[in-house]
Symmetry: C2
Subunit: 133 residues, 2 copies
């Protein structure tokens, strides 16, 4: 889908002052929440075109196809927008079973326990292995 | 837990320029994502104290206990923080089975289909009934 086509559905989204919305990546089979990242118009257009998650990297200030280095792409199954149209769910198949740059299944691995954040999930792939070319 | 106690775990969180982080409420049993809302320090402290979700309402600029009017509270089962410590998951039991102010189970009821957002979930409770006192 190109910008030439009808993008009324993009205009419906309430982008924030930086032109972004939060996007929650969820495993389409297990329901596990994998990550929360950010999207701008271009990243959502690319996501739909490629059927793979493309985010906006706030740190690098550029489009970032999830898995572009590691190979751990997120294959889009479904996309949902919330009631006030300022947050997105990407229902995905996570290639390699690892969404986090630390080598864990999910980025949400700090569990609150008695006033502390405790690491609650194992490293499945050594990050050094994941990012070497 | 009061502010007098050790709040190093709160200081670890990377609050944004407005002092907020996004919080994803997820049904602890089904894995269904119910809503994305925002928290500040006080709302997270209150959430832990009450074992019920308390958010920061950006529109009303005040603390907002989920369900304070409708009775549809979110009872906290677990809390997770992500790898870069700027997003939270609340794993909850959703009282009444309805998280959305529209009377739907989840706020994420707009499904992307062929260049349109299509409503993909039924209204379970009439909002007029939900908010009458």
């Amino acid at each position: 889908m190109s910008e030439q086509e009808n993008t009324a559905w993009l205009d419906e989204i309430k982008w924030n002052a930086d032109g972004l919305v939060p996007a929650v990546a969820q495993d389409s089979q297990s329901g596990k929440i994998l990550a929360l990242a950010w999207m701008n118009r271009d990243s959502l257009l690319q996501t739909i075109k490629l059927k793979r998650a493309v985010y906006w990297s706030r740190s690098k200030q550029r489009l970032w196809q999830k898995g572009e280095t590691s190979g751990h792409t997120q294959e889009i199954q479904d996309i949902y927008l919330d009631c006030d149209k300022d947050a997105i769910i990407l229902s995905v198949i996570q290639t390699g079973g690892v969404a986090c740059h630390t080598g864990r299944q999910s980025c949400f691995f700090h569990h609150f326990e008695n006033g502390k954040w405790v690491i609650s999930a194992p490293v499945l792939i050594n990050p050094d292995e994941m990012y070497k070319k």
